[in-house]
């Protein structure tokens, strides 16, 4: 009761709706939502779903910026709905759209299949340099060796960086910032020996070379993963790999 009493202010939300069975294209719907100062955009959407329109579809899970499910365009910026608060946007009307650069499945839900395939394609696991048995003990790592890749392991696959990337918008086959951050997480790991397999994956236009260092991917990242750094340092490696490929052991002319 007290929670309802506290919600004396109202915010206008313009939500892009797309119902594939009835809509030929997405259209904006307007909702008036009572809000309190601690209300996130995600809670506002849940309030619409609970009290105004149960058909409104959106993804969410953890409500604390760790699962990466509720990424959407809020006032044109790629944002996590759980991490964006109405009080910071009020009193102006708030525009909510599905993540840019992705096909819309329904309302705020986008297609993620291609992104998952890209993640799978970069060998997202440690490939040991030499196989070791359990009796041989664990693979050791110094704090400095860990610092070299640790921040890239913070990615939550929210895809905000893809929505921020105009080169992904122009070329959907571009491997993109998120998958490259994960690639660097493994390539930068001192215990890993899979660098060559991953370098082969990112050569060419659909690999690192679609990136033009726009850099907005790193600005919108809610976890400060800095995918722009992951991509651009691998351009150097990819270029070296191209020019020095004949010198590799086992290389064929």
């Amino acid at each position: 009761m007290s929670d309802v009493m506290a919600r004396t202010k109202t915010i206008e939300l313009l939500v892009l709706r797309y119902r594939p069975l009835s809509d030929s294209e997405p259209v904006f719907a307007t909702y008036q939502v009572p809000y309190s100062d601690d209300m996130s955009v995600l809670q506002a959407l849940q309030s619409i779903k609970d009290t105004q329109d149960g058909t409104l579809s959106f993804r969410w899970s953890c409500r604390m910026a760790i699962c990466g499910s509720c990424g959407m365009m809020i006032n044109g910026d790629p944002s996590l709905a759980c991490n964006t608060f109405i009080r910071d946007l009020a009193p102006h009307p708030v525009t909510i759209e599905p993540l840019r650069n992705f096909p819309i499945e329904r309302d705020l839900v986008v297609t993620v299949g291609d992104f998952v395939k890209k993640i799978e394609s970069i060998y997202p696991y440690i490939i040991p340099k030499a196989p070791k048995s359990i009796e041989d003990g664990e693979y050791l790592q110094t704090p400095a060796q860990m610092a070299a890749y640790e921040s890239f392991s913070d990615c939550i696959n929210c895809m905000l960086c893809y929505a921020a990337c105009p080169q992904f918008g122009a070329n959907p086959d571009f491997i993109g910032p998120g998958a490259m951050a994960l690639l660097q997480r493994y390539n930068g790991d001192s215990r890993d020996g899979g660098q060559q397999a991953r370098l082969d994956r990112i050569a060419g236009e659909d690999g690192v070379w679609s990136c033009t260092a726009v850099g907005v991917c790193s600005e919108v990242c809610p976890k400060q993963v800095d995918p722009a750094n992951a991509i651009n340092q691998n351009k150097t490696k990819s270029a070296f790999d191209f020019f020095l490929r004949f010198l590799r052991p086992g290389a064929r002319p």
Binding site: E105, T111, A147, G169, G215, V216, E219, N229, N232
Partner: protein
């Protein structure tokens, strides 16, 4: 019945002209300014190879109000190019770990810009000194 009928929204063709991409667009455009200045220097070299008369007319062009205006504009473009170049530089290199700690990118940018200005100052001082001696 399947509802799977994904809707594809096309990216606006003028994405580069709007926030947050405007900074990127301006940064890339400064490259044209750098190329233009390189062209001006190259024109001087060509005039020099063609003889004294050609080089004198090149120098007269340099002293003209139009040329001074162009150079003032190009100086601003060049300064912006230097700053944004060093802002991008840390993104293109592996994380710098010193003493087990990650060196912040902003520090690399500040150091790079400072280095560029010190080098420019030394170059200007050298040119002035050589000009004074000859």
């Amino acid at each position: 019945m399947s509802e799977h009928r994904p809707f594809h929204r096309a990216q606006p063709r003028d994405w580069w002209a709007h926030k947050p991409y405007l900074g990127y667009t301006l940064r890339e455009l400064t490259g044209l300014g750098v190329a233009l200045y390189g062209g001006i220097l190259l024109a001087g070299l060509v005039c020099l190879s063609r003889g004294a008369e050609a080089f004198d007319s090149y120098r007269r062009f340099l002293a003209s109000p139009l040329s001074l205006l162009i150079h003032l504009l190009l100086l601003a473009v060049m300064l912006w190019h230097v700053v944004t170049w060093f802002q991008t530089m840390p993104k293109t290199m592996p994380k710098l770990i010193l003493g087990g700690r990650h060196v912040p990118q902003q520090r690399l940018t500040v150091l790079g810009v400072l280095l560029a200005f010190v080098c420019s100052a030394v170059l200007i001082a050298a040119v002035v000194a050589v000009g004074g001696l000859s």
